[in-house]
Subunit: 131 residues, 2 copies
Amino acid sequence: MPEPAATADTEALLEANAAFYAAFEQRDLDAMSDVWLHEEHVVCTHPGWTTLRGWAGVAASWFALFQGDRPMQFILTEVAAVVAGDAGWVTLDENMLSGSQTQTVAATNVFQRVEGRWWLVVHHGSGIATG
Amino acid sequence: MPEPAATADTEALLEANAAFYAAFEQRDLDAMSDVWLHEEHVVCTHPGWTTLRGWAGVAASWFALFQGDRPMQFILTEVAAVVAGDAGWVTLDENMLSGSQTQTVAATNVFQRVEGRWWLVVHHGSGIATG
């Protein structure tokens, strides 16, 4: 049985994860900026991309990705969260609907708890080969 | 300046990460088994695969991958390690040489420290698109 404290930790972690996908879906750069820790050690690997290191480069990638104008919707499945002290990670499938296209991306999101709040420090997404 | 304790933590984390790639390179299932925490919450996403959840499925995937007979060599670049309490993660590029083929995979490896040792709990690899 999880302890009450652990459950609250996990809920807060999942809320931070949900905020990330809300910002992504809404192409909201301010909200995306608020999700991430603004440090040199943050890393982001978009599907098929090389890994971006440091908040400046990561922010620039979201700015570029948000230039598109097609509405996007995420259905998140297989969501699993683990809390280990002041670190936590969420693994899941991002089922992206954009127009008539659907694509599934396997994602790993690592968060650090700083001053009582969970901040995204690693996002790694990879396309799932079909057929 | 990192504190001495933090440096020792990071060194131990990088040693655990190196043990993972040594096991991978040597196709050594016993050594690979020794690297991972044998728990339900471990996850592994091989490039282009769906995410495997739980040690049993993860172990089976390594068994399948190790059936090949081509020698493999990894050159690890862009290696960055972060320790946050009893969790830590290493992000890097896996430059795989196999015969005359080379392939670069962006990887995220998350470890948990249990009973004083770092154990792999998340491996996520994704191919980097070229051209």
